[in-house]
Amino acid sequence: MSEPHTKVVIDRVSKQFETKAGPLQVLDDIELQVADGEFVCLLGPSGCGKSTLLNTIAGFVQPTSGKVLIDGEQVLAPNPQRVFVFQEYGIFPWASVWDNVALGLQHSQNRAETAHKVQETIDLVGLTGFEKSYPMELSGGMKQRVEVARALAVSPDVIYMDEPFGALDSLTRLTMRAEIIRIWQQQQPTILFVTHDVDESIQLAERIVVMSARPGRIAGIIDVDLPHPRDLGSPEYGRIKNRLYGLLGVSHEI
């Protein structure tokens, strides 16, 4: 089997924001490459610029200097093949579950095929029977499933996730992580996942990019070479956790 090709290249990306207190350096000279089909977590404290980095890769924000390349082409705007799953609920409250999931498939000519795809995706995330429901009638976890389904329906090459499970309770969060791993293994998209939760990053990622705050820099990159499902009690898990806390500069023994 050949070496998987590089999907995303982040080439010396810096970002400054103008604020009342003067220019704020949010990202400083970020250099990173992500392979096709890889699951990468961006881990860091709040305010470290990890969301800004993800928004830059997605094309919502343009870097002050440097550039982002996907499949060798510079990212200048968002693209329907690369879908963002938002931190707050990005699904439309005015549309039913079905219409939300079908959002990215408007341009498809074949209606039967579209309907099949929408139903298949709704089934995949476990929302069968809720097709006609509106988001306000769903729980937080179910809304997040709609959001994930909306992204999956377009069969994207890359999925960006910005703390997608942050608003969920801890039990639902565990379930959603397992679901994401299952879907990733099944469909093999490239996933870039932003989180500030150390355990979440070790449970999910093949590679964890640790960021430090103000200005946002890469503090270190750690490979997670553990098979799924991952055992939270294994010694390797503990070692990775210690190294992550070390890179983040905090002690987890309180």
């Binding site: 919502f60 938002f86 509106y134």
Partner: protein, 289 residues
């Protein structure tokens, strides 16, 4: 034409007694209703408040020995008289006709304009100062202009209602569009939705709860303005009927009766437009009450 009958003289000697007894009864029932079901209380309490207000009205008439201002009883008789006359239906229809057309024309022009001006930053820069500058001019101030352009009649009324509805709807739509959250805008652009599809799937539905609120405000204003406009510059309608009743021998009992009709029609209009708030597509926009 209304019959020019003298106001019915009520037997004033028992008026205060009835009024005071009603107040006492209403207060007692209000107190007792604490243990009733929520639904029953919601009906009983406003009825009791209304009863007390009518009783105070009666007491006021008795104490001040009012001769021209009507008592509740005289007003009720006048209400029956006005309902039985052929004037009420015709004048109500005249007012509602102007409001319907003015409101309809305002809706089909103000919503598209508000959508465009709310979504496009350059349109907003261009149009917003002008909209904000025209908005505070009372529709009443436009009455002379309306009569100059359209003469006495439906045209002037429809124009005034158009003006009074246009600005609340336009400004409400603009605000609704500008309040669409960044995540929803980004979702739309991420999935490659633009042009007409963007308006249909994101901009219009995202602004819809605020558009409906603005329609409700606009219809309320329209109903206020049409009565004023008809009192000043028209020869039919409920506003004109009020003027007519006063001019025909100071029939203030009829004036009060027509005022009650105006209030009742206003309530019905508001209840009708509030039904729009219950659709699944907009319920998310209103906090649970």
């Amino acid at each position: 034409m209304l019959a020019l009958a003298e106001p019915t003289s009520a037997g004033t000697s028992w008026g205060p007694v009835v009024a005071v007894s009603l107040i006492v009864v209403a207060l007692v029932i209000s107190r007792l209703s604490r243990s009733w079901s929520e639904r029953a209380q919601k009906t009983a309490l406003p009825v009791m408040v209304a009863t007390i207000m009518v009783a105070l009205w009666q007491l006021g008439c008795d104490l001040l020995q009012a001769t021209i201002f009507p008592t509740p009883w005289q007003t009720l008789l006048a209400l029956i008289e006005v309902v039985e006359s052929d004037r009420l239906l015709g004048d109500s229809v005249a007012s509602l006709y102007r409001v319907t057309w003015g409101f309809f024309l305002a809706t089909i022009t103000a919503i598209p304009l508000g959508l465009v001006v709310g979504w496009s930053t350059r349109s907003f820069w261009a149009m917003n100062p002008i909209i904000q500058g025209l908005r505070p001019i009372s529709p009443i101030a436009w009455i002379p202009v309306a009569i100059l352009w359209f003469g006495i009649g439906d045209g002037a009324g429809i124009f005034l209602i158009f003006l009074s509805s246009f600005f609340p709807i336009c400004v409400g739509t603009m605000a609704g569009v500008r309040n669409i959250s960044l995540v929803h805008q980004r979702s739309a652009s991420n999935f490659g939705i633009h042009g007409f599809e963007l308006i249909r799937r994101v901009v219009l539905p995202g602004a819809m709860p605020q558009i409906i609120t603005s329609l409700r405000i606009a219809l309320g204003v329209a109903w206020l303005v049409i009565v004023a406009a008809e009192m000043v510059g028209m020869d039919s309608g409920l506003g004109y009927l009020i003027n007519d009743a006063r001019n025909m021998g100071s029939r203030y009992d009829l004036v009060a009766a027509v005022m009650i009709v105006i209030g009742l029609i206003g309530i019905v209009l508001d209840l009708m437009i509030r039904r729009l708030e219950h659709f699944d597509e907009v319920r998310w926009g209103y906090a649970e009450r």
